[in-house]
């Protein structure tokens, strides 16, 4: 939406105070306290997870058997695990996968969902078929299928793309494939309504082709529902990835992820109960931040709320 309108307004010099859509959205977003907190904490978590391990003195994989199963202390703030590995270092490294999978799976499902939604909404001939496929995917049992695919395709993927990267692709792919349907439905509904509007008719009447109408006129207008769906998608993907790791089916056993750390903590729940808290709290905190950001974005992208507020 931003491109055509802002171009027009910038050229018109009689308007002294120019406010771009982006700054308007940002202004409204800042009003949502929860969303701003969420954004700050999420940035902090992301930095801690991606930069933190380089600054922190302990290596997440370094075994130190004499110092195994230590309680939290100044040297090891979260204690050490059964192999003497520092738990804080593992929690930090573990977040990388969760956040990376969350983002990548979100991108995947947004791209697929938007594409299906736009094609179904814009081209009447494809509508029936694409929506049938969407309904079909909705009635597939998600978690059981995830587990089955993960088990069956683990070997070929790891042998082709390497231990960690192969699993990463597989996990992102299966989470994306089982989650794009909601986005597709929302986008289709919006496109159906947009298609009948005057500006699309105007574009058609000056001979704009279908592809160009979709890119220039339809896509910018479905941006806001897609953004909201994206934030929900990150939350679901993080929870699902952690669930897979928690069941012991995600990344290789020595590779820490938040879900895997929870699984490890479950086995020592009587001797080191505190180890459950850190990975779990971080999963929940990240998911909550993303949800709040999504909430704020929804308000900020809603023109009705923006003009009155």
């Amino acid at each position: 939406m931003s491109e055509p309108i802002s171009d027009q307004l910038v050229e018109n010099e009689e308007l002294p105070e120019f406010r771009s859509l982006r700054s308007d959205v940002w202004r409204q977003f800042r009003r949502h306290r929860g969303a701003v907190f969420g954004l700050i904490i999420l940035i902090f978590i992301t930095l801690a997870v991606f930069v933190g391990p380089f600054l922190y003195p302990y290596d997440a994989w370094a075994n130190d058997v004499p110092n195994r199963l230590l309680s939290p202390s100044w040297r090891h703030p979260f204690g050490t695990d059964g192999n003497g590995r520092d738990v804080l270092a593992r929690v930090l490294v573990g977040g990388r996968i969760s956040i990376a999978v969350g983002m990548a799976a979100m991108l995947f499902q947004i791209v697929v969902g938007t594409a299906v939604g736009v094609f179904a909404g814009y081209f009447r001939r494809l509508d029936g078929l694409l929506m049938r496929i969407t309904d079909l995917f909705l009635s597939l049992p998600q978690l059981p299928l995830l587990l089955v695919i993960l088990i069956l395709f683990r070997e070929p993927m790891t042998s082709r793309f390497g231990q960690n990267f192969g699993i990463f692709i597989l996990v992102v792919f299966i989470i994306g494939v089982t989650n794009w349907m909601q986005t597709a439905r929302i986008v289709r509904g919006d496109v159906l309504a947009l298609k009948e509007q005057e500006f699309v008719l105007a574009a058609k009447s000056i001979g704009t082709g279908g592809g160009k109408i979709i890119l220039r006129h339809i896509l910018p207008n479905v941006l806001s529902p897609v953004t909201v769906a994206a934030s929900l998608g990150v939350a679901t993907a993080i929870i699902t990835e952690s669930a897979l790791s928690f069941l012991g089916l995600g990344f290789p056993a020595d590779f820490p992820t938040w879900g895997r750390l929870l699984l490890e903590a479950k086995d020592v729940i009587t001797s080191q109960p505190a180890r459950v808290i850190w990975p779990g709290a971080l999963i929940s905190l990240t998911v909550m931040c993303v949800t709040f950001i999504g909430d704020g974005l929804r308000d900020a992208l809603d023109p009705k709320l923006r003009s009155t507020g």
Binding site: D135, L136, S139, L140, P141, Q142, L143, P144, L145, L147, V148, I149, I151, L152, F153, E155, P156, A235, I239, S242, A243, F246, L247, L249, G259, L262, A265, K266, I269, T270, P273, V276, I277, G280, A281, I283, S284, L285, V287, M288, T291, F292
Partner: protein, 338 residues
């Protein structure tokens, strides 16, 4: 109405066939050899014989059709026979889907495991709904009040706390620290409620799994109820009800609540099969001997069992979709003829 039901049922049949095909293809076209778990000393020709005895040497279309025959014809007949104690034709030797690891009919094992799952997950859904509906209605009626804000926050926590974390937290607090509740679920314990001590035991072991599921379900259903009640509170018929002098209680409980329940009922019907899938996580946290654990245990070496459970859950999904559609049409006559 009848035509609507019939039409929806007819659509469900190809959907089910197609889902069974997808599940079948995922399982059978996956690389890997089902006999790879057997000892390496077995000779190749014996290995081939094992494969052909399992029917794996035939074309996959034949295998799928055979499976469909077992699943859609033989198994329902067997279920009917065992429920009514009748026998049609050669009921002793009728082929059934056999689990590879237990060598017994897969569906018999599923029928044994299902009650535990339904009992735990069903109670969680029941309590969740019972809490969520009044909370959702009050939140909508007093929008942006303290009650509403607290409710919104708690439901956000409920959404952000995955069951595998909240379950472990409860175990840490109530089993490890306080030692009040058992952390493992004991399915062998007497479920007949013959004595007070057994009832107390059941309540204690159900307390944690049921309460985390209650929180999870309540947070979803209450958000949904709230949104739906908010839509209804601004409707004309509510103003009419008020203007003819009905009390606020009557307006809210009779008029608003009944109409807000329409989408909520659909949500409930749609989330029922989801709890069977979600049971995988609850059951692995508390080691409940239900259908979710059965699936987890069969994943690596029991193809027919995995296929049957996955299809069973898909079957429930499609059936409850159908039920949701029909209930929706029954509750809201406006959508019936579209």
């Amino acid at each position: 109405m009848l035509r609507f039901v019939i039409r929806r049922t007819l659509v469900a049949i190809p959907t089910l066939l197609f889902i069974s095909l997808i599940i079948f293809l995922i399982l059978h076209l996956a690389p890997g050899d089902p006999t790879s778990q057997l000892p390496l000393t077995i000779k190749p020709e014996v290995r081939e014989a094992i494969k052909s005895s399992l029917g794996l040497d035939r074309h996959w279309i034949i295998q799928w059709l055979k499976w469909c025959q077992l699943m859609f014809i033989n198994e329902p007949i067997h279920l009917f026979e065992s429920l009514t104690n009748t026998c049609f034709g050669d009921c002793e030797n009728r082929a059934r889907i056999i689990s590879w690891s237990s060598k017994s009919p897969a569906l018999d094992t599923i029928y044994q495991r299902l009650p535990q799952t339904v009992w735990v997950a069903g109670l969680g859904l029941l309590f969740g709904t019972l809490i969520a509906i009044p909370v959702g209605i009050i939140s909508a009626y007093k929008q942006y009040s303290i009650f509403d804000n607290v409710g919104t926050f708690i439901s956000m926590i409920g959404f952000a706390l995955p069951v595998y974390f909240s379950g472990l937290l409860l175990i840490v607090v109530f089993s490890v620290k306080l030692k009040w509740l058992p952390s493992l679920y004991d399915t062998t314990h007497d479920t007949q409620f013959t004595s007070w001590s057994s009832i107390w035991f059941q309540i204690k072991q159900l307390a944690m799994p049921v309460s985390i599921l209650t929180l999870f379900n309540a947070s979803q259903v209450s958000r949904f109820t709230r949104a739906s009640a908010l839509d209804n509170l601004n409707q004309e018929y509510v103003r009419t009800a008020r203007s003819k002098g009905l009390s606020e209680t009557t307006v809210v409980t009779v008029h608003v609540m009944r109409n807000s329940m329409i989408p909520v009922v659909t949500l409930l019907a749609l989330s029922l099969p989801g709890i069977v899938g979600g049971a995988i996580l609850t059951e692995s946290v508390f080691r409940i001997n239900g259908i979710g654990r059965l699936l987890l245990d069969s994943l690596t070496d029991d193809l027919p069992m995995v296929q049957t459970i996955t299809f069973f859950i898909a079957f429930l999904t499609v059936m409850f979709n159908l039920v949701a559609d029909v209930v929706y049409a029954w509750l809201d006559p406006r959508i019936r003829y579209e």
